[in-house]
Amino acid sequence: MEAVALKAKLKTQIIQYLNLLDITPEDIKDDTPLFGEELGLDSIDSIELIVLLEREYGIKITNPTEGRKVLVDVEQMAAYILEHSENLK
């Protein structure tokens, strides 16, 4: 899967998994901080995102330091998925 298509899909999945009310995929830029004021995500959401990565892409994040590097924005998440997901290879 190409990075552009993956990022678009990821935005839809983030909205679905976190039940983000009144937010559309277009509202999330590739570099919008996931845990900034714009989206207003919190620590429970970070667990939901880890579950998303595992269920949708077969990626398990068990190291919190690694998680902090990945769950930055859609750009970082997509790059990590392309590098690590067996499902996309």
């Binding site: 998994y17 976190l18 039940n19 983000l20 009310l21 009144d22 207003g40 919190d42 429970i44 667990i47 939901e48 880890i50 579950v51 595992e54 269920r55 398990k60």
Partner: protein, 346 residues
Amino acid sequence: MYIIDCYSISPQKTFDESFFEGQVEGFVGNKYHAIEPSYADLIPRGLLRRMGKAVRIGIGAGLPLIEKQKDIDGIIIGTATGGLDDCIKFLNQIVEYDEGTLTPTNFVQSTPNAIGGHLAMMSKNTGYNNTHMGIGTAFESTLLDAFLLFEEGEASKLLIGNVEETSQHHYNIDAYAGYFKTEEISSTELFNSNSKGSICGEGAAMFVVSNKKENALCKLVDVHQFTYPKSENIEERVSQFLEKNNMSLQDIDSLVLGFSGDNRYDFWYTNLMNSFPKSTVYSYKNLVGEYPTSSGFATWLATKILTGKKTPNKAIYKDANRTPKNILIYNNYLGAQHGFILLKST
């Protein structure tokens, strides 16, 4: 104890004055869903997006009351099932993902004490917090808990209430058990249906109760709960209950009865009603459906009646043209768990 404020979210538009202005919702089918207010000014969006319906309507009914009363000593909730929909979603995830990584949200929302917990956290209330789950008498247990706290001097003002949600999962389980009608029926024909089962309802009713009469809407005099009685004992039981409160059958001018249209259990209400030939009788399950803690809605309705609200005709089962001063609520859930609640005007 005294009721000094109340709020209800139900399948009727009860969160504002619409219901008493005559706007009564009619339904066809076997589920009556709650009409919810806008929560935009009440619940932060970050919290709202995670809330299941039970938590949402519980917060929606309880928080406005707490915000008006800053000196609440504790929160007591009665709910038979709490957030059952989230509970079943969580259980399904365990199976679907082979006990792997699970999302926390469904689990957090599913526990029955999540309602009281959320109310406490959102209002920063660190007092007594308890949830009763005794199915058809969970709300009566909530009242008893409040009475005991007041009697022991542990509280002077409490938020109490009931919450019940319906969902597809919940409906399917109870439908298999024969709780609901299999035919489609309108709410206006519910009491004439003469068939098994009732209608699946939901709602939340919340009350601020105090041990002081000041600003009271009415007095909640007493509560009594019992299980699996013999049908012939019901008059004896109600007489004893009233005698305990220095009243007789003749003192009750109004009854609020839980007629549900289920021909297996409505005889309980008919039998009790026959002991009060001169009383006005109100019904409510044709308005909000059947659920284990529906006596919470009955208590909200009785409170409003005692404050002089004009009750819509669809809530009047038999009109005896009495001025409401002493109201007896009688409800049972599937004929198994029964409760009396006695209210007086102040």
